[in-house]
Symmetry: C3
Subunit: 345 residues, 3 copies
């Protein structure tokens, strides 16, 4: 934990300070539970009501919010991003000492940068490359020929199959698996024939991949995760998927094989995306929806249905089954009307 | 495997015995496939038809069931819970010898109770505390400052990030990850800025967490799992979620950030819960539903739609798109009627 | 990577060659990006447009496709399965040398075939059996009494709990967990009582299980995965589920306890299946559907709703709530009609 004055923070991050530049802060806090000596932020309007009573020493806030702020304000057009940078500065990640832990099993042909950290119980197979200042957390496994860029961090128990390539400044969380075989099976008369999965996974720079998320290797060509893509936990990315730069995908999403997702998309939690689709840039999909056709225009898409009281919902479902019939009945009524109008006229 | 007479079982667990107290049983069995020397149970009415023909030596059953029971009955108001206790007694968990396996890598500052078991290939970082009789299964990783209460058992390959705290008598299954970074990202003009995840995860007593389930650390404050919460496999719990005591959540559920779930809730498999919601105590949500608004009253909620024959369903979906239009057409028809009624009168 | 002539390939796999038998190929490629010296295939009609321009030396294709093929054709009634076999021959799996890595911790009572490979950081507990030529990947954990058939391969970090049995020629991907406790809990007045999970998991021959997929052990009897079953990543199979031979299940599916799925079923991604159901052979379920009743007839089932523009969808959802009311209104209109018809006649 570092310490800084509000003046230093404003200068370093280009914020407009409204308040005393010599006040010191040592930590971040939530608006509601902040104490003096902390800096907090207001980004979600639903927490605005806590602004008047916060005990923080300063709030990172937009211009409108600054006017209602009873304590010092660090004013930004984008207070959430500004807060993120301030927080990272006040709370630096614990470092990892360079070197290879004696319990790690490292193939002699692997090239590990001297500044990299290889933790206990790690396995590094032949031909692996680990870049400068990279961190390979405990129990991780890097298959033959895998490649890790500089400043990339693998938390505990990450698995990279052979030849998987990860760029620079990435973060891979515990239990993530990159490069398992895609689900390629061909049906034959007496059962399934496995289709060899010969491609690999290529991950760009500045990518974050959540805990227990899986990204399968390509069947022939590679599965590709673009720069600055952010994947939450427990996501399944099938073989030959391509995800464009800056796209963010929330937890529990499943993306089927050979689908391409554009840049700057936002996919809500629990969404399912069918295979062989094209989704253009700047698409948002609301949580728990199914995407089963290509989306060719930017926009927000949904098929999500909010839960209601179960008895009420049961009646809806019972009716749903007869929706087709209902449309026919309405058409019949409309026909009667035209007839009776004709008769009456 | 232990051995007991029906009399001993009845006495130990407060059950009313209908039958010979000297009959011995050594194992549990299902109603349908039981053999003499076993004890079985009837809790789910759909298996009642097997009661007459069971070959078990005894059945744990409620009063009504006991009347139809052709063999000895151990009568309980709650036969399933009574069965669970009997089964645990007849089939005790295999123990784990105290001590630290030589292949484990344990930081010298960690405090491991002498009665605890630390399995092979485990990694325990600085400042970790492991309580009395706790079991740390093979390949598990406990990050710096993590804390495990007495009698808690981690199966193989569990990961606890730094400072995660787990209470007493918990069970964490293989592949579970507690304390990975929450999905905190702030959008800026040239991409995403990572929001540091500075809280941790706090797990109460008597909690069970399923295989490959993930619970993220809080952004600023902690993610909190209450006492006696039961989480099945492959659940995703996002940062700053709070789950109240005795709540049970089935597999594949995703819970988004900052949502609070009350006590004694039951969440069905595959449910998705949006972020920043409040769900009160005693709510049940049926499987595969989406909760996208706060639920302020106890009750059962649903948005689940059972699959039907695909051709029939395709017609429903085609109609769904025109549901809005259909309501307008019905309103128009009603309008016509009022007009024609008016004309006719 | 092997090398073969088209004549050799045709002879080995029983394909009809249309073209020069002496042309050599060394690798597979996609239809679109193939270069000379490679063999490709056409199975999905949507890629047919690339057939005329492919640079491959040969295409595995059906008879109709062969007529449009500008290069050599290897003709098969089932080109995808034929391609799979050709690809496996040209690109053999990297082998694993027999022997136990010195960092592995192997109980002296375990029986490991001399031809098997046990990788680094593996843990093998008492009484485990590992068959001929089996491969136990790095960091895997085999609990006491687990049994692995001949030629079965475990990728990195696979966990088998005690007594789990896996057949021959299976592939288990990284992070898979077989045999964790089923979600058995009995509600009692003061909280949950754990129901001991005393069965195990039995996996047939030729089964593939995806990364981070979980299969729970049975409560009393076993959870059973039939021969040639194919499970994609991140699937949850609850206790006492039975899956019939040749059934294929896509990613992110959840199957609740005691459900039986027949043979040769195909379950789409993200499907949820409720507990205690029977699904007959030859059922297909489309992605993201819920199965909440037994399916007693072969066929295709669905409840999946494709996402549309969110504003349009919001209007549909608003109307859904009033569907029951709407049916009543239509019935009322129909009643009026009959009345007015009666009056008019």
């Amino acid at each position: 934990m570092a310490e800084a004055t509000l003046g230093q923070i404003a200068a370093r991050f280009g914020l407009v300070l409204q308040g005393d530049p010599d006040v010191r802060v040592t930590a971040v806090a939530t608006l509601r539970d902040a104490t003096p000596g902390t800096v907090t932020f207001l980004a979600n309007p639903r927490y605005r009501r806590y602004l008047a009573e916060t005990q923080a020493s300063a709030v990172v806030v937009d211009e409108a919010g600054a006017r209602d702020c009873s304590v010092a304000a660090l004013v930004s057009k984008n207070p959430y991003a500004a807060y993120a940078r301030v927080a990272a500065w006040l709370h630096p990640e614990p470092g990892a000492a360079p070197g290879v832990h004696p319990s790690a099993v490292v193939d002699p042909t692997a090239r590990i940068a001297a500044s990299a950290h290889v933790g206990p119980q790690v396995v590094i197979e032949a031909g692996v490359e680990v870049g400068e200042r990279a961190v390979i957390g405990p129990g991780s496994v890097l298959g033959a020929g895998a490649c890790i860029g500089a400043d990339t961090r693998l938390a505990a128990r990450v698995t990279l199959y052979r030849r998987v390539r990860v760029g620079q400044r990435c973060i891979l969380h515990a239990g993530a698996v990159l490069g398992a075989d895609g689900f390629g099976i061909a049906q034959d008369v007496d059962g399934w024939v496995k289709v060899p999965q010969l491609g690999t996974v290529v991950v760009g720079d500045d990518v974050e991949i959540g805990a227990n998320t899986t990204v399968d290797r390509g069947a022939i060509e590679d599965t590709v995760i673009g720069d600055d893509v952010k994947l939450d936990n427990q996501i399944q990315v099938a073989h030959n998927v391509r995800i464009g730069a800056h796209t963010a995908i929330a937890g529990c999403v499943g993306i089927s094989g050979s689908t391409t997702i554009g840049s700057r998309c936002m996919i809500g939690g629990g969404v399912g995306i069918a295979g062989h689709l094209e989704i253009v840039d700047n698409v948002a999909v609301l949580g728990m929806s199914l995407v089963s056709r290509s989306l060719t225009k930017p926009g927000i898409y949904s098929a999500s249905v909010p839960a209601i009281e179960a008895g009420d919902w049961r009646r809806v479902v019972a009716r749903l089954r007869h929706l087709d019939d209902m449309f026919d009945r309405v058409r019949a009524l409309e026909g009667h009307f035209k007839e009776s109008d004709a008769e009456n006229s």
